[in-house]
């Protein structure tokens, strides 16, 4: 578990380090996600060395964004003022996204 955590935080740090020095417009953790995938594919690290920590983190992923959800209370007035256009745009866009990705697979799948 300790080794797995070291790998996860190591790749997070690596991602942060690269975005820090090269000022690319992508978050360090997203870069870390990409790099750890690459390292696993190129067999630089073993799945069983990282899996204990990654499984636990994914299991509790939803818990970790609760504070951001609570933070919405600070912006309650903004949401209240624009709830109608926001709802319309977000629901319409979500239905379109669902349909477009589904229809491509439905038509082209072998």
């Amino acid at each position: 578990m300790l080794k797995a955590l070291a790998y996860i935080f190591g790749f997070l740090l690596l991602g942060e380090l690269i975005t820090y020095f090269f000022e690319i417009p992508i978050a360090g953790n997203i870069l870390g996600m990409f790099l750890i995938f690459l390292a696993l594919r190129l067999k630089l690290i073993k799945l069983q060395d990282v899996k204990p920590a990654s499984d636990k983190l994914i299991k509790y992923l939803v818990l970790f964004f609760i504070p951001y959800g609570v933070g919405l209370m600070v912006y309650f007035e903004i949401i209240a003022a624009y709830w109608m256009p926001i709802s319309v745009a977000v629901i319409a866009s979500t239905v379109i996204t669902l349909y477009i990705s589904a229809i491509i697979i439905e038509k082209l799948e072998k």
């Binding site: 996600m33 209370m73 239905v95 229809i103 697979i105």
Partner: protein
């Protein structure tokens, strides 16, 4: 008493307890709107309002919880590697579906919000609404929106996809489980993926992968698409 609530342990404790309570309720009454995260958030907001506690005080502890979003995104890379093998035979069609669906998701929400004359900072906060919360939050931080608004809407989108996604798709004539899974992961991230697993294991795997792929696509493209439509960032 206010000083007591400023102790970080308060924010940590109430977050864990609210989430555990939300999960228990969901287990007892299997009803989609009883989403554990939604319940936890509503409970904590109510508690803070009743006892007149500032969000900043709660977040002294809350930020220890949200800190783990960073390593969790890295963990998604491991998850992606594990599931990657299972979609190999349909890989090209799958990637096309997620890419076209994902980009449509960003473009349509930006265009609709522009047409409805919503202020720019809200558009910046909602452009990444389809992807998993930790990635969406990072995108919003880069583009100048408000991460808390992003988190709230992203969770709402997930619940919408979870509750109505399969129903809407079946009404529109979609039959393939793989298509339904991929669409749920692309449009409604992890909360949609939970529903895809209820459709079938295969749908769930495709959904989880679609969530990761769309996370990357949206992270790479959103800053540029926003720049294109809104001009420079505020």
């Amino acid at each position: 008493m206010q000083e007591f609530f400023q102790l970080p342990v308060f924010g940590v404790f109430i977050s864990i307890i609210a989430f555990a309570g939300g999960r228990e309720l969901r287990k007892k009454f299997n009803y989609v709107l009883l989403n554990p995260v939604l319940l936890a958030i509503l409970f904590i907001i109510s508690f803070l309002l009743i006892f007149n506690i500032d969000f900043e005080d709660y977040n002294r502890g809350g930020k220890f919880i949200s800190f783990f979003l960073g390593p969790s995104v890295v963990a998604l890379g491991v998850f992606f590697y594990e599931k990657y093998e299972e979609v190999k035979q349909n890989l090209k069609v799958f990637l096309l579906s997620v890419a076209v669906g994902g980009i449509s998701g960003i473009l349509t929400v930006i265009i609709f919000l522009l047409l409805l004359k919503v202020p720019d900072f809200i558009i910046e906060s909602l452009a990444s609404k389809s992807v998993t919360t930790p990635i969406a939050i990072e995108i919003t931080k880069l583009t100048g929106g408000i991460p808390e608004i992003t988190a709230g809407i992203v969770i709402a989108v997930g619940i919408f996809g979870n509750a109505f996604g399969p129903f809407i798709l079946k009404k529109l004539g979609i039959k393939s489980k793989i298509a339904i899974g991929t669409a749920l992961g692309t449009a409604a991230h992890g909360i949609g993926t939970a529903r895809a697993f209820e459709e079938s294991k295969l749908a769930g795997v495709y959904s989880g992968l679609a969530m990761c792929v769309n996370g990357i696509i949206t992270a790479l493209l959103t800053p540029y698409l926003l720049q294109l439509f809104l001009g420079s960032f505020t």
